[in-house]
């Protein structure tokens, strides 16, 4: 159980670190300071919210008879607010475009490498092979 606890603690700390940065940024933008305790409270709340999110996401994906949570599940999570929902939808589309670009890039590199390999194979004919 100790291992689980320290794992949880490390993750808590990681969340705290990022939340701290976000809080500082938000406070600075409004010309104010924010205390460490306040940041800790926001961090803890965010961490706990992850639990709620995770359980919901898991329920959504199970309902769809999947074992992997997908962007569709996240979109469901964001359904309550129009603006949030639109935002997540937009991010999702950006991700899709980005993935498509990566895919095409890899394809291009793969065909380039293939023709290169073929040339090298012909040259290395008869030499030492692994």
């Amino acid at each position: 159980m100790d291992e689980n606890e320290s794992h949880s603690q490390r993750l808590r700390a990681a969340v705290h670190y990022t939340v701290g940065g976000l809080c500082q940024g938000a406070a600075a933008a409004c010309g104010r300071d924010i205390s460490r305790q306040a940041i800790a409270a926001v961090a803890e709340t965010t961490f706990r919210q992850c639990d709620i999110f995770a359980k919901d996401l898991e329920a959504f994906s199970r309902h769809a008879k999947r074992q992997t949570v997908t962007t569709d599940d996240v979109k469901l999570l964001a359904r309550r607010s129009t603006a949030l929902s639109n935002f997540i939808q937009q991010k999702s589309e950006e991700l899709a475009i980005h993935n498509q670009e990566l895919k095409e890039k890899r394809k291009k590199n793969a065909t380039k490498r293939k023709s290169k390999d073929m040339e090298e194979n012909e040259a290395a004919e008869g030499g030492t092979e692994n």
């Binding site: 794992h7 990022t18 104010r32």
Partner: protein, 123 residues
């Protein structure tokens, strides 16, 4: 309006591990894209909480946003359907106020006049 500082984001690895830790079934996984989206969601959540606490501190004429301000806004930090409330004048980052500020709540001792509008534009 654009900030020159590096953007603070949740690391994908952190988000993935946190979510997985909270799943009931250990076989449940999260896709990479879903992790990216959740990182955004969490960022919005945290910034939302911070903004409300800051507003609370402002209303109490406090220079420092302290624990008590966070505690006061926490009860309202809940999912709530439909309406989105935006803070007039602030437009630094997309503030998607998904949580409805309950003006009739007994917790609301700030006398804040929230401007209620649909937040159509995002970035």
């Amino acid at each position: 309006m654009a900030s020159a500082e590096p953007e603070v984001v949740f690391k994908k690895e952190t988000v993935s591990k946190v979510l997985t830790m909270f799943f009931k079934d250990e076989k449940t996984k999260v896709s990479s894209d879903a992790v990216s989206l959740m990182a955004e969601m969490l960022k919005i959540f945290a910034v939302e909480a911070a903004r409300r606490a800051i507003k609370q501190a402002e209303n109490e004429d406090c220079d420092v946003v302290d624990l008590e301000h966070v505690e006061k806004i926490l009860p309202e930090l809940r999912f709530s359907g439909g309406r989105v409330i935006s803070l007039p004048g602030t437009a630094l980052t997309p503030h998607i106020w998904w949580m409805q500020w309950n003006r009739s709540s007994s917790h609301d001792c700030t006398g804040v006049n929230w401007e209620v509008q649909e937040c159509g534009d995002v970035w």
